[in-house]
Symmetry: C2
Subunit: 476 residues, 2 copies
């Protein structure tokens, strides 16, 4: 029987102003995890969440992961673990979010104070962290409160894990997830993460896949120190010359990765999968708009979506050690280190990728016939993730979207990685669902970050509705 949610939805609407006020209080705390000077504000934000959760009747445990690596004396902010309900007859859902935010300065170009939630005439709510990820985190709290105010029984036991270092590599989180998988998180039946975005602005989506990322450096060295190009140009084998030639062998400007054997690792495209892309609510114009240009590799949306979600890509990010400032400096850099990364997809195993990359580099290097030395290194690797969208966790979310928005959500993957997704899946062994609240125009990580009021309020309905459907969904 479909859950009766009308009273819940009505209560959320009635409480909308209070929920916006809760978000306003959260945005006012500049919990920038990348700035050691603002660390007290990150902690303050964690304590704000604790207080709100306690007021709602949840239990809270603050976990301090210790000192931040590389910053002696700087303590990491607490990971907030919380439980609301412990009825063994109910399903238990583990949700994750983060309460830290990206840096923001008015002078970066913000139209409004980034730390003051500012609602414009189109009900866009501007403020740092509004969509990434304070809005979604508070959505869970709002859902609890609306149930209480409406007098409706909460349909599941809710486990919450809110961290304060996501924008700085989630320092300390993986260890905690692994350690608590069979303890604090032991009765979790499924995981839900609301920390990504709709593909567009109108249609909600459920996300079931993420690309991985293998990030490499290639160091080229020759002379003992930087040299003056007037004195040494023409006499020394220049590391930059070798490096740009090496980089030119990695990928072409049609996106084709030139590393031998790499494409063989990619799972073949089935007809069934291919048929999925046509229906996705996404157009090339959406892509052009988000790029700020029409310089795309593909002309068709299906090809562009597949290139983003299910095929690998290789990007050259830059070169460390060469002259990178404005102006004209006549240096022959002695040691230059290029950085590039490969976005990986099923079934590329990171160590197989590494082996092919290193083999390619050494082979290309031999061809260069140079006196310089090359040293390629893997800097970090995060594996791709693909969940089963046929799991009851996704079915429940599908019905929740239908009940709130009246449409069937797109099933999407993302090109980027959210490493915690895979950690939760591997540590708990449970299905993980990415259930976004914000839209593609929210400008997370950018200036003028916002969350539309619609996304926040309907999103709060969505999270609650999802929990009701999760409670009723049959085990498959």
């Amino acid at each position: 029987m479909a859950p009766q949610l009308d009273t819940y939805f009505k209560t959320v609407d009635e409480l909308a102003d209070q929920f916006i006020d809760r978000l306003r209080k959260a945005v006012a705390i500049p919990s920038v995890s990348a700035d050691p000077d603002l660390r007290p504000k990150v902690v303050e934000m964690g304590l704000f969440l604790e207080k709100e959760l306690l007021a709602l009747g949840a239990t809270v445990e603050k976990r301090y992961p210790g000192e931040q690596p590389g910053f002696p004396g700087l303590q990491l902010p607490p990971i907030i673990l919380s439980r609301y309900g412990s009825d063994p007859k109910k399903r238990t859902i583990l949700v994750y979010g983060h309460y830290d935010v990206q840096p923001a300065l008015k002078e970066d170009g913000w139209a409004t104070d980034p730390w003051v939630l500012t609602v414009d005439e189109k009900d866009r709510m501007y403020g740092r962290g509004s969509t990434d990820d304070k809005g979604p985190v508070l959505g869970w709290l709002n859902a609890i409160e609306a149930h209480q105010k409406a007098g409706i029984d909460f349909p599941v036991n809710l486990l919450m894990c809110f961290e304060g270092m996501e924008e700085y590599g989630s320092e300390g989180l993986d260890d905690l997830i692994i350690a608590e998988a069979k303890k604090y998180f032991k009765d979790a039946d499924a995981v839900c993460i609301s920390d990504n975005y709709w593909l567009g602005t109108e249609k909600p989506c459920l996300t079931y896949g993420l690309r991985g990322c293998s990030y490499y450096s290639v160091e080229v060295t020759g002379p003992g120190q930087d040299l003056h190009s007037g004195v040494y140009g023409g006499t020394v084998v220049e590391p930059m010359t070798d490096l740009v030639n090496l980089l030119g062998t990695l990928v072409d400007n049609k996106g084709k990765i030139l590393i031998e054997g790499l494409s063989d690792l990619v799972a073949p495209l089935t007809e069934e999968e291919q048929s999925l892309y046509g229906d996705i609510a996404f157009t090339m114009d959406d892509l052009y708009e988000s790029l700020g240009s029409k310089t795309t590799i593909h002309e068709k949306k299906e090809e562009a979506l597949m290139a983003r979600w299910r095929y690998p890509s290789l990007s050259i990010h830059g070169i460390e050690g060469a002259f990178s400032a404005p102006g004209a400096k006549t240096v022959i850099p002695a040691k230059v280190t290029a950085k590039f990364s490969i976005r990986t997809v099923p079934n590329m195993q990171p160590d197989e990728v590494d082996a092919l990359v290193f083999k390619h580099i050494h082979k290309a290097w031999e061809k260069l016939n140079t006196k310089n030395k090359v040293k390629p290194e893997l800097m970090h690797a995060g594996k791709w993730w693909v969940a089963s969208p046929k799991h009851w966790n996704f079915s429940a979310a599908t019905k929740a979207v239908q009940s709130v928005f009246g449409v069937t959500p797109d099933f999407t993957r993302e090109g980027g990685s959210i490493p915690v997704t895979l950690t939760f899946e591997q540590a708990t062994g449970k299905n993980v669902l990415l259930l976004p609240m914000g839209s593609s125009t929210d400008a997370a990580h950018s200036i003028n970050e916002k969350l539309d009021k619609r996304n926040y309020i309907e999103g709060t309905k969505l999270l609650g509705s999802y929990l009701h459907h999760v409670a009723e969904e049959p085990q498959v």
Copy 2:
């Protein structure tokens, strides 16, 4: 008749400690032209020179070129114009030097305080500016003083031009030289600049040629802003991919410039010129030592010297706008600007070089078949310079070296440019000689800059001896 210089030489030896003390006072003034906060110290150094010159009986005019471009309210230090003697029966020699220095911090790795002249057990005198260019500048003053103390008539009229912005692009100097060519400098018969170095450590040289430098930027643009490689990798034509491919078409790692037509502009090597290189006091081991590696393009000294002095070279200096910091950032840079330069030689005309470079870039760009845009630009061009080493100015210097060091100097060219050389030649129409005082191991611009006591004291003898020979050399 060869001039009798024994008394002069003896007097220089007797005054050695005083001359070293003069250098000590100069080194103690941190006249760093690149640091606006130290501008008063640059001015102080100019006034120190003025005081010393006045004490020696020279006349002095301080010329203030005005405000430093780009630094509102910051006055450029004075150019010190000075004259010693105005006997119409004597030749007039114009000498140039600079009294500003490169930055220096003890913590950069200096073994001693860079602002305290420190003489070690091998009579190496360490201190910022010791060799570049305070030692040579004071050498002219020492020569005057030694003549006075020895009671020897000064053989020429000496015009001096000492600037305080050489290490920051000689701001304001070109205009002054051009303006004064037919005024303050009007009776100059030849020019002598002591601001470069011996090729090695034992044998003096005279320098008669410099390569020019044409410095280019190539901007590649596509997307409207930097992109996340997870989200956009594989869908967008990446500017970095195009740029590294473009850079790969410029030069190979054997130093061969791949720009069509460029080598046709180079003056052919004559048998006579080729025969000169074998005798130069220079070995591949000298080159290996200064490089700190054996990663040279050539194996023979003749080839290496020709590659440095008489053939063009192309160096890729770096890329602006890409990720250049340590660490791993997953950015697709939207706008990347490579910097490269070509060292030019006779008979390459800068505008011909530009035309070939632009043509090459546009042709290579077409081959890339890309949606991105390319914009190559000339950032600056300085022309090569070659003087006639058969002029009496060089003959006099040759005899001076023989009289002080007992050897015939090497005739050298340099790979780098000293733009003021060409300006003096073009503005005055007179022969310019580069007469170095320091040696190849002096580490100008680096930590632990030094001038050997031998180079300073024998160098002072050399400058005085040169003036005597100049006075007697017949007009050719």
